[in-house]
Symmetry: C2
Subunit: 383 residues, 2 copies
């Protein structure tokens, strides 16, 4: 985004058209600095997952002082980040043949593109595509350490070895390492439970990598992920470990309710306006699209709804969004004195349950320092 | 969208980058024709709600043979539709002061902009804004007929009259009528229950309008909404009634499971590719963003998940999306023979739970006739 794209003068929190994404720059910077210091203490390499924000200016802060690599979840993110000068990308969703051509196009645009697979039949097909396109690709083997989403089961040494051999033996491909996502850390209720999951992830991945080395299949990098698991780790990681946390840039109501962060760490809110006042509620213009329909936090707190409500300065009002329609969000306000302070048009800021999904609903962030808008940054949506 | 924006040659269902919105043109046309005939039989005027698709080419089909008016849910839709030549817009979300300026800008671009309010204090403020901008606005009073979302309670004759007087007495504003949304029809399990809700909506709104007339406050139009309620009506409506169904253009798994449509009426699907094969599941690249996290249908069928799965031709496979992550959708496939027919890269089409929210996740529709892509149409997202 260039200065020419910015409204002049910049609006403020009382004049930005609602609903809108508000990014608190100080919280963002603090969250990024804290994770950066934490990963440095762990002795690992930080390759932030940018799927949370899809926004190059944010990623630039995240990679400051590191090697510059980022993790992406869509090829559209990849092209946007290549345009923004990022040249070391890890596309951390399993590649399938329908995306070979675009992945090779992207590889041509950057210094290094790594992809992931959990299928021993993929490498020869990908090799043919890479050779035809004249590009080289790094390939990680995805391992399932207990999450149960994607990846080869960590204990299935035979298929892991077969996949590694298929990659190592394919022209145009290089075995970059092994990768996992301990998504099960999101289901943990307490820090020690998250730490146990993270340590198990680390140990299982180390064993997988060691077994490959024993077979003469060097897996240079072990890539592990997820903000809750990384935050929970406190013992140093081996130096060949890369970590891919993403949500930490923003955090959200879900992470706060899990205890992964404090509520005051949440950097992303949705600015919204009261469009209806009832006897014991208000309805605002942040509905199912502006917030997303993620009810992640309700696994922990049944009444957490679709987001936690603060005033325009971001201070909690102790309210929640109880129901959403496409462009309506219903906020019960049992306290009559509080209701009186929320006239039609009053502005509120809602901390979403799941910041990654909420950000993807919007075209851009309004970046604020305290109550002052300082910039507007784009969201690289789509696929 | 001009022909110059289209890929040449047009891709087909096996080459469109996934995930992608697929719009079945024949089903769309059939759904639109059926609603058009139904509303003609009811003797009402049809002002389709375009929030479902946010797409001018679709709305053009919907208003064919009618008076050309449409209903919008965001001002961004309004500007996109004004650009596309629509000149009679009803913005059916309660207006608040923060949107006066943009609403007046929009009013300047069209022949008629109607807005809604349920607050007797709004009209004088809006009048001042309209006079300053040199525009005239039509204003509907929103009435709550039992939905409980927004609107003045239908039985609160005093506040309704006060609001009507405030509108009628305000320069630059005209009392256009009364409007309601029987959202409670979405919670009905059976057609006769929906009909009862729709008839109650009709009767309550007629009484509200009659009471205003008795007071000398003419409310020329009674506007009622929601696809399930309109479909359920079979007796003629009074001639001053406008109806605002929207979802009927696409329908979706939720409406099909409620019995409002057949599964074969669903015109919108998400094209997706298999990115992982497990022992008893596949994972595809249609996740929480591509599908939305709406679990609307699960109120009826706990196991309906995030969408119903068909093959690339759209034929049901009897499968559902059981879980989603941001870019992952997990589909249990207990039948081994079926699993064998779903290799890596296999393409599936998922009928979403809630087509309005799913459409809003994408930048455009790929329009297909049978398996042939014939066009690509934009989605006017944002606010």
């Amino acid at each position: 985004m260039t200065a020419a794209d910015l409204p002049d003068p910049l609006p403020d929190l009382l004049t930005i058209p609602t609903p809108a994404l508000i990014l608190d720059l100080e919280r963002l910077t603090r969250n990024i600095a804290r994770m950066s210091a934490h990963v440095a203490r762990l002795g690992a390499r930080l390759r932030p997952h940018i799927k949370t924000h899809k926004c190059p200016p944010i990623a630039r802060q995240q990679v400051a002082g590191w090697f510059g690599g980022v993790t992406i979840s869509t090829l559209a993110e990849g092209f946007a980040f290549a345009d923004a000068g990022f040249d070391d990308l890890l596309y951390a969703v399993p590649l399938e043949p329908g995306k070979f051509r675009r992945a090779c196009d992207l590889a041509r645009r950057v210094r290094r593109l790594a992809v992931i697979t959990d299928d021993p039949d993929l490498p020869p097909l990908l090799s043919a595509a890479a050779m035809a396109a004249g590009v080289a690709l790094d390939v990680f083997i995805e391992i399932d350490c207990g999450d149960g989403r994607t990846g080869l089961p960590f204990a299935d040494a035979a298929r892991i070895a077969r996949t590694a051999r298929a990659i190592a033996g394919a022209k145009g491909l290089a075995l970059a390492g092994v990768l996992t996502h301990a998504g099960q850390a999101y289901a943990a209720r307490a820090a020690d439970e998250r730490r146990a999951i993270a340590e198990l992830e680390r140990d299982r991945m180390q064993r997988v990598a060691a077994e490959l080395e024993r077979l003469g299949l060097e897996a240079p990098c072990v890539s592990i992920g997820s903000t809750p698991a990384i935050v929970a780790l406190d013992a140093p990681l081996p130096p060949n470990f890369e970590v891919r946390p993403g949500n930490y840039a923003f955090f959200d109501a879900f992470q706060a309710q899990c205890g992964v962060c404090a509520f005051d760490d949440c950097a992303l809110t949705v600015l919204t306006a009261v469009i209806h006042r009832g006897a014991d509620k208000v309805v605002t213009d942040a509905g199912a699209i502006a917030l997303s329909k993620d009810i992640g936090a309700s696994d922990f707190f049944a009444k957490s709804g679709y987001g936690l409500v603060g005033d325009v300065a971001g201070r909690s009002l102790g309210l929640r969004v109880a129901a959403v329609a496409q462009e309506h969000g219903r906020i019960p306000v049992p306290d009559r004195a509080l209701l009186d302070r929320l006239p039609l048009g009053a502005r509120l800021r809602i901390a979403p349950n799941h910041s990654c999904l909420t950000a993807a609903q919007h075209a851009h962030y309004w970046v604020v320092v305290a109550d002052r808008v300082v910039d507007r940054w784009p969201v690289a949506r789509g696929w």
